[in-house]
Every structure is written in C-alpha cells, then in structure tokens.
C-alpha cells in the first residue's frame, strides 16, 4: 500500500528537504506512525501529545480534509496522495489543495530523447504517474496522471506547452480555486 505524502516546507528539515515522500500506510494514523519511524520528530509537529492532529494542521487525502472523513482513522487508498498543510490564521491555503488530472500527451520528434517528465517533476511540485506510453521514430505518446496544488499544476502545464508538448485533458478534477 504505497502512498505519496506531501510535506510542508516548514517540516522539510525533518525529511531531509524532501517535499514528497513515499511510504506504506493504510490509515492516517498509520501514516503518521510510519513517518515518525522514518523521520523522527515529525509526529510531534503534526499531533498533540494525545495523538490528536493539531488544530492548525490539516491533512488531506486526495484533496479531502480528514476532519470530514474519519479523522486519524480515515483510510488511505493505495496510490493516494496525502498532503500535510498548515492552516495559517485565516484558513487553509487553497492553492495547496490537491487536484488530479489525466492527460494525453504528444511529444514531437525533437523531444523524444529528452527527459521531459523527469524535468517537469523536478521543476514543479507535482507528482506524475505514467499510465501508458509509446514511442516511435516520429512521435511519443503518453497517458499521464498528474497531481499537485492548483498553482503548481497550472505552471507545469504551461511549461509543458512551452516545451512543445501537445496535451489534451482526459479527465479528473478541474483545476479551480
């Protein structure tokens, strides 16, 4: 049960500056324990001493606040993305809400040998999942799932376009505020 966890910048000192980490967990509670065993000290930042998630920390599973699911008992589906997001006085940062979209991409021949998707995920705080790909001499085709915060996603898509990649949205949640 592999899941991706997005770590807020204020906690990255504990995760060796990684903005996302991949771990195994079936519930939010298990995720916190696993994170703690790999990155000691992080549980104290997320939870009160009684294990309750701190009031100004939000945990989103695929974009849904666990407060409105089952709290720390909320189950996490395989492959899900979990975000840990501090609520700064005045509320949750909407930009950080996770959006997931499925894209059909066409790479012109000049780009076929370039590590475009790798660069994309390095340059922007987005997570990709290649669902299908085919490369010929003339063209590369790919079905790609992409998820991340609204602004990062918009920037990533703009960058892809600027590189000459043609993309078509196949589905997923719309990128909106």
């Amino acid at each position: 049960m592999s899941i991706t966890v997005r770590i807020p910048s204020a906690m990255r000192a504990l995760t060796k500056e990684q903005s996302t980490v991949t771990i195994n967990a079936k519930t939010a509670k298990e995720m916190i324990e696993t994170l703690e065993s790999e990155y000691p000290g992080i549980k104290d930042r997320i939870c009160e001493s009684d294990g309750k998630v701190r009031r100004f920390i939000n945990i989103f599973i695929n974009g849904e606040d666990i407060r409105f699911i089952s709290g720390v008992e909320s189950s996490i589906p395989d492959g899900a993305e979990v975000s840990i997001i501090p609520a700064i006085a005045g509320g949750t940062d909407g930009r950080a809400k996770i959006k997931k979209i499925k894209l059909e991409l066409y790479f012109p021949s000049k780009l076929i040998k370039q590590p475009v998707i790798y660069t994309l995920s390095k340059k922007f705080n987005v997570v990709f999942n290649i669902r299908r790909a085919r490369v010929t001499e003339e063209i590369g085709e790919m079905i790609l799932e992409l998820s991340g915060g609204k602004e990062e996603m918009e920037k990533a898509l703009k960058w892809l376009k600027s590189q000459g990649v043609i993309s078509k949205t196949l589905g997923g949640s719309k990128i909106e505020g």
């Binding site: 204020a10 930042r45 701190r54 009031r55 100004f56 920390i57 407060r67 409105f68 501090p86 609520a87 700064i88 006085a89 005045g90 509320g91 949750t92 940062d93 909407g94 930009r95 505020g177």
Partner: protein, 409 residues
C-alpha cells in the same frame, strides 16, 4: 525592553516568541497572542488612574501592546453605553445596554484595533501599512495610515458597498479590489505579507491589532460602574472581537478592577454566513468553512481565523449563538433606529435580530444586564435599506396641501 509586554505566546502549544511582527507559531502553526507582565501592570493601574486618563481607549494604555507614548490616535473609543429603555421595553428587557461604536472616528469599532496596530507598526519600524478588509477596516487603516504619514494599501473584495469604498478612498490610500470574496482577499494578503516588508494589520500585526478589541470589554465594565454584564451579544466575523471582549473582562478581574466574570457570551451571525454559530449549535469544535451570501458584508468571513476560539468562549461561558436572515437584519436595523436613535450598519441589524431571538427563546432574561455591541455605522451600508425606509412626501409650499397631507395620516 518593555516591562509590560513579555512575549508573544502560541495559543495552542504555549511556545513563546519575541514580540516582533510575527503571528504564527513556527512549531505548531497556532496563532500568537501578546503575553503581559501583569504584576508590573497591576502596580501601575487602578480604577482611579484609569478614570483620570484620556477620554479615549488610550485610558487603558497599560493593557495595550504599545510601548512608547508616541501613538497614532484620532481619539477613538470611550463611546457611549446607552441604557436602551425603549428597545428594552419592546423586547422585554429591563437592563439592556447598547454599546454604540458607530460614533468612532471612521464610524466603526475597527478604529480600536487600528490605533493599536499602527502605533505598534511604527514602533517596529514599518513604513507601509496594509490590510485585508470587508470594508470597515479599510476605512480605519486608510485614515490612521494618513495621519501617521505611512504608505497605505488596502485590499477589499471588488463588490463592496459604495459607502465603504468611498469611506476609505477619501483618505487617499491605494485601494486594491480583488475579484473574489473576503477569504480570497485574505489568502492573497498572506502571500503578499510573506513577500513584502509591510505591516499587514490583520496578518503579521494581528497579535497586537486584535488586542485593541479588548477595550470594548474594558469600557463596558467601567461604564457599568466597574462590573461585568450578565450577557453580551457580539457580532462574529473572524471571531476575534468576541474572544477579546472576553479577554478584556478577565484582565480587569485579574487586576482586581471588577469582581468575578460570569458573563454569558452570545455570537451573532447572518444565516448566509454562520460557520461559528453552526458549530455552537452542533456542539462541534470543528468550524466548517462556508461560502458567504449575506447583506451583512462586514461579517462575511466564511473561514474565520478565530472561529474556534469564539466557539470555545461561547461554550465555556454558558452562552451560545443565533442567526438571522437578511430580512431580519433590516428589521433589526430599523428597530434599533426607531427605538434608540442609533443607525447601525448591517452587522448591527444582525446583533439586534439575534438579541430578539435570544429573548424569545428565554436565553436572555428580563433582569439580566445585557449589552448588545453595535460595531458600525448605518451610513456605510445604505444599499441594504433602499426602498425599505420612510421617503419624503413631496408637496408645494402651500399650507392647504400640508393640511391635506396631515389629514391623510
């Protein structure tokens, strides 16, 4: 080093930080609050020293987070506390009081928080002040920014009432109308506050700013003859005002200026934006954000920063909360004006409407000393009342015509 300000303390985990322009705990992200040296304050403060002070909220300067005497003030605060006998009779209350904050320099209670915020911002060396506002704050920051000679930026939702845009514009700030609601404006301002070295009164200066609201607790206690009321009805937007009135009364108690505080706190919100009252009614500490839709725009905060703390005060004091519709808001404004001569903005209509409901539900009793907080002036929200108040009867300058009109009543 100041002797009265000790530090900024996280309301959640209790960690302490130096009293600078910071507002979030770097450990647990809880909000920071000013912590005082009460032993020191107690030595310097008594009922007599306060009574000799200026007729503004600066009579409580020992309990406000500004160190120097070089303050930016327009003589705000110390507004009338009216024994509302007429309104009380209509509602069935003997000891009803109206705290009339419509008569502050820029016509709302925001002058209280802004005089403190801007005085502190100057003390911390800022040259630019800014705010995210539902309107009243924009006017106050613009006026005090002008008086202090600071560059002033105000950020508002683009569809605010004309009276509030004009009421800020006259002081010549830069006004930025953001296409979105207040919560969008606030989010944008958090980003700007991170990037610019500006004093955002309700973002990075918030721990100091919000302390200004305590004076609405201090004044009421002093004006009632050094005692706390039995019940208060407070309009809730971010929730800060309600929690600070509570803090104010308790500080007075701590300093021995008043006896035990047994005041019940009631939150007043509009049906179209009631995240705090919803939590009170569901007895749930989770404040669910909403998309506001109400004529009470000064209360239209869907994701209130201090919502949880306001909820907690209402619950722990044995109070509660109620909501009113837009129609009831207008009725509330008219009722207050026609009984007590006070012309309140829409938020005041919310307070009066909610007060009426609480009396009907027998939560507020006839003999209770009850204070309803009226926080803004009706001239700012005239749109809400168009076609709903008396209009002139047009006649020629003829005695006959007047007699005819008179007989028609």
């Amino acid at each position: 080093m100041s002797r009265k300000i000790k530090s900024l303390k996280c309301k959640e985990c209790g960690r302490e930080f130096p009293a600078k322009a910071i507002y979030v705990c770097e450990f647990c992200f809880g909000p920071l609050e000013v912590r005082y040296n009460y032993d020191y304050i107690k030595k310097k403060t008594s009922g007599k020293t306060i009574e000799k002070g200026p007729l503004s909220l600066w009579r409580y300067k020992e309990l406000l987070p500004v160190e120097s005497d070089d303050i930016t003030t327009l003589q705000e605060g110390f507004t009338p506390l009216i024994h509302a006998k007429n309104l009380g009779e209509v509602l069935g209350l003997k000891n009803l009081y109206i705290k009339n904050d419509t008569v502050n320099p820029t016509f709302s209670f925001k002058d209280r928080v802004v005089t403190v915020a801007i005085s502190r911002a100057r003390e911390l060396g800022f040259a630019t002040v800014a705010c995210a506002s539902t309107g009243n704050l924009a006017g106050a920051v613009s006026a005090y920014g002008a008086v202090a000679g600071l560059k002033t930026f105000v950020f508002i939702p683009h569809d605010l009432e004309q009276g509030k845009i004009l009421g800020a514009g006259i002081y010549n700030p830069v006004i930025v109308g953001v296409k979105g609601n207040y919560d969008d404006v606030n989010r944008l301002c958090s980003e700007i506050a991170d990037a610019f070295r500006w004093a955002f009164v309700n973002v990075n200066i918030r721990p100091y700013y919000s302390e200004g609201s305590k004076t609405l607790g201090f004044e009421v206690a002093e004006q009632l003859g050094w005692r706390a009321p039995d019940s208060v009805v407070v309009p809730v937007a971010s929730g800060s005002l309600l929690t600070k009135i509570y803090k104010g009364l308790n500080e007075f108690n701590l300093l021995g200026l008043i006896g035990d505080v047994k005041t019940k706190f009631y939150a007043a919100q509009a049906v179209g934006c009631s995240p705090v009252v919803a939590a009170i009614k569901e007895n749930s500490e989770i404040i669910k954000p909403v998309k506001p839709n109400t004529i009470a725009k000064s209360l239209a905060i869907g994701n209130p920063a201090d919502g949880y703390y306001a909820w907690k005060v209402a619950k722990e004091t044995g109070g509660g909360g109620e909501t009113v519709s837009d129609t009831e808001i207008v009725e509330g404004i008219k009722l207050l004006a026609s009984t007590e001569g006070v012309f309140a903005e829409t938020a005041g209509g919310v307070t009066i409407g909610v007060l009426k409901k609480l009396v009907e539900q027998k939560k507020i009793e006839r003999n209770h000393t009850t204070v309803a907080y009226i926080t803004g002036n009706g001239l700012k929200t005239q749109e809400a009342l168009m076609d709903k108040v008396s209009k002139p009867h047009i006649i020629n300058p003829s005695f006959e015509e007047f007699k005819k009109l008179y007989n028609s009543f």
